[in-house]
């Protein structure tokens, strides 16, 4: 178990002639010991690059990686004392499930009594006890991935456990179960865990802290709640939530923002640097349809069971609103924005509002 320090890391795969050549833009973070972190972002955003830097498959072009206070920047994966679970199940076909789990321990010369104590415990947690003496080869992909997870968890002394989209091959109904098991294992053993995924549900349920990446950059590190309520970048607003945050171009004027000809009251003033593109972000959950507010043209209503998602346009810009269960779309709806749900962005980055 260790604290992971990423000290001014940058990485480019090829030669660098401009800052845009970095696949991973500069980042400087300390990830606390025993935390569960999720790296969340779309394909190609650099999250796998970052994971490989932590695991040691890639040496960053610039900066240092520290586990606790040990500089591991140039160490290969096997010297870093980490465990990793891959996207596809990696099992040793000819071994039994039990032997698979014991393998990393045996290779490190751990005494037999300790192995015999540790392995059944992990088997038990993953619900593999009844299969312990089956050959790994004959099992389904789900079970094989459980073995991979088990091999990741089996060592007590690892600095960190890295998960590279480990639930991709798992059936949806088992995903919930495995995610819950991972959470339990994390609470029980307190390993530092880093979990890469492009699935917001996975990230938000697994992690204490979610690291949202976009275009090679960490755009926000925060708790699920922070990401939801105060997205630091319009991308976070759009990427997290279903549907994502509405982003409307506005012009700022002290305590109000104007969109087209209409004005929206802001909770406290907002000031954006001159010459920047200013936008207003509001999640569909905070848009209230009723007799007050701005003129809203409904184009489509999606009934997703518990609630309705109303799509429409406001002053020519698309806007989504969520209607609570049982509510109907008013005849001539107007959209009002709840002040606590309003975020203001200048060039896509959030600016603080308030006095």
């Amino acid at each position: 178990m260790a604290k992971i320090t990423l000290d001014h890391i940058r990485h480019a795969y090829g030669p660098v002639s401009s800052p845009a050549d970095y696949a991973l833009k500069e980042l400087d973070h300390v990830w606390t010991d025993g935390g569960a972190f999720a790296l969340l972002g779309p394909s190609g955003c650099g999250k796998t690059t970052l994971l490989n830097i932590i695991s040691g498959l890639i040496t960053p072009s610039e900066g240092r990686v520290l586990f606790d206070d040990r500089d591991v920047t140039t160490l290969p994966p096997e010297a870093r004392n980490i465990a990793q679970v891959f996207q596809f199940p990696v099992v040793y076909d000819t071994m039994t499930v039990r032997q698979n789990l014991a393998f990393p321990l045996k290779n490190r010369g751990i005494p037999k009594e300790q192995i015999d104590a540790r392995v059944p415990r992990i088997l038990d947690m993953l619900g593999l006890s009844t299969l312990a003496d089956r050959r790994a080869e004959s099992l389904t992909a789900d079970l094989k991935q459980k073995i991979s997870l088990g091999r990741g968890m089996v060592r007590e002394d690892v600095s960190a456990i890295l998960f590279d989209e480990p639930l991709t091959v798992i059936d949806p109904h088992l995903k919930w179960q495995l995610r819950a098991q991972l959470k339990t294992l994390h609470r029980e053993f307190g390993h530092t865990m880093v979990y890469v995924t492009h699935d917001q549900t996975e990230a938000l349920t697994f992690a204490d802290k979610v690291v949202v990446m976009y275009d090679g950059e960490v755009v926000q590190v925060g708790t699920p709640q922070e990401l939801f309520e105060r997205p630091a970048h319009t991308f976070v607003g759009y990427f997290i939530g279903s549907p994502g945050m509405n982003v409307l171009p506005v012009t700022l004027d002290g305590a109000t923002a104007s969109l087209g000809g209409e004005t929206i009251a802001l909770p406290g003033g907002a000031r954006a640097p001159a010459g920047t593109k200013t936008e207003l972000g509001i999640r569909p959950e905070f848009v209230k349809l009723g007799a007050e507010g701005l003129a809203f043209n409904v184009t489509r209503v999606d009934d997703i069971g518990r609630e309705k998602i109303v799509h429409g346009t406001l002053g020519g810009h698309p806007l989504a609103a969520i209607l609570p269960e049982g509510a109907e779309v008013p005849a001539e709806p107007r959209a009002a924005f709840a002040p606590e749900g309003i975020n203001i962005y200048a060039d896509s980055w959030r600016v603080e509002t308030g006095a």
């Binding site: 695991s55 498959l57 290969p76 994966p77 096997e78 980490i82 465990a83 990793q84 891959f86 996207q87 596809f88 990696v90 040793y92 076909d93 000819t94 071994m95 393998f103 990393p104 290779n107 490190r108 080869e137 004959s138 991979s148 091999r151």
Partner: protein
């Protein structure tokens, strides 16, 4: 579901049927025909039943050829399969050198078989061949034309040179298909080089190695051209394998009935081994899925 019955569909199978008949069924039945009759004089056929078979199966000469055949096939399998895997493991995984190695490996496979025999015939000559002369200069008494052991050594060496490449190429392809994640996982699990081979590479190569062994078994079991050109089956009968013996009987002695019976026995043995391997492979596949 309604099935449409249209017997004209059989016409579609006709071309394949004709082809198979021409190159498999008719020749095979001709051989069966020969093996059951005495055809001493052209146009004169005499039914002899299983007499040719009894004669062949009881003959010392056939036993000798069969035993030599199994020993030869056994030796080359024991050498070529592990050697092929070892070479495949040592080859670079990518880059220019991978291509260079592949081309080098493919070269022996591209040489016509009789040329391989001729090359080794000259290469191993005790007076002028580099190998033969070299061995004698080093103090070995080596002459494959009159020493059975030297002849065996040369034939085996030639086959290893000629065919190990096939095993290398198959094993190399098998190794290439192993996902990089396995090696990474093994590193993280602290596996030794031997453990990586034993628990990742060997299990993943299983199917490909069964195919390699099958191909090398069949090919070596019907080996003819190379030893024929190299030693002509000699000295004496030392390197007379089944095919050479068969051709001697058929063409040399014009003993068509005996040769035909030998062919059929030979064919059934190959068929049996192929069936064994096929079953093995199918079981393997079922186990994997």
């Amino acid at each position: 579901m309604n099935k449409t019955i249209n017997n004209r569909a059989w016409f579609l199978v006709l071309p394949v049927l004709l082809l198979v008949a021409m190159n498999a069924i008719i020749p095979l039945m001709t051989v069966v025909n020969y093996s059951l009759q005495e055809s001493f004089i052209a146009g004169f056929w005499d039914w002899v039943g299983t007499r040719h078979y009894e004669e062949v199966l009881g003959s010392e000469r056939f036993h000798g050829a069969l035993i030599r055949q199994f020993i030869f096939t056994g030796i080359i399998l024991v050498i070529e399969v592990p050697l092929g895997v070892a070479v495949a493991l040592a080859m670079p995984k990518k880059g220019v050198w991978a291509s260079v190695c592949l081309v080098l490996m493919a070269l022996p496979l591209l040489i016509p078989w009789n040329v391989v025999g001729a090359i080794w015939n000259i290469f191993a000559l005790p007076e002028i061949g580099l190998l033969g002369w070299g061995l004698n200069e080093l103090g070995f008494d080596y002459n494959y034309t009159n020493q059975p052991l030297a002849a065996w050594f040369t034939v085996v060496l030639m086959d290893v040179w000629h065919w190990t490449s096939l095993v290398v190429l198959l094993a190399y392809a098998g190794l290439q298909s192993i996902d990089e994640a396995y090696y990474r996982a093994a590193k993280i699990d602290g596996a030794s080089r031997w453990a990586v081979f034993r628990f990742i590479q060997l299990p993943k190569l299983r199917t490909v190695l069964i195919i390699a062994i099958l191909l090398r078994f069949i090919d070596s079991f019907m080996i003819y051209t190379e030893p024929f050109v190299l030693t002509g089956g000699g000295p004496g009968n030392a390197t007379t394998f089944l095919s050479i013996d068969l051709v001697k009987a058929a063409v040399g002695e014009f003993n068509l009935g005996i040769a035909a019976a030998m062919s059929i026995i030979y064919f059934l043995m190959t068929l049996l081994v192929c069936w064994l391997f096929f079953t093995l492979m199918n079981n393997d596949r079922e186990r994997q899925s």
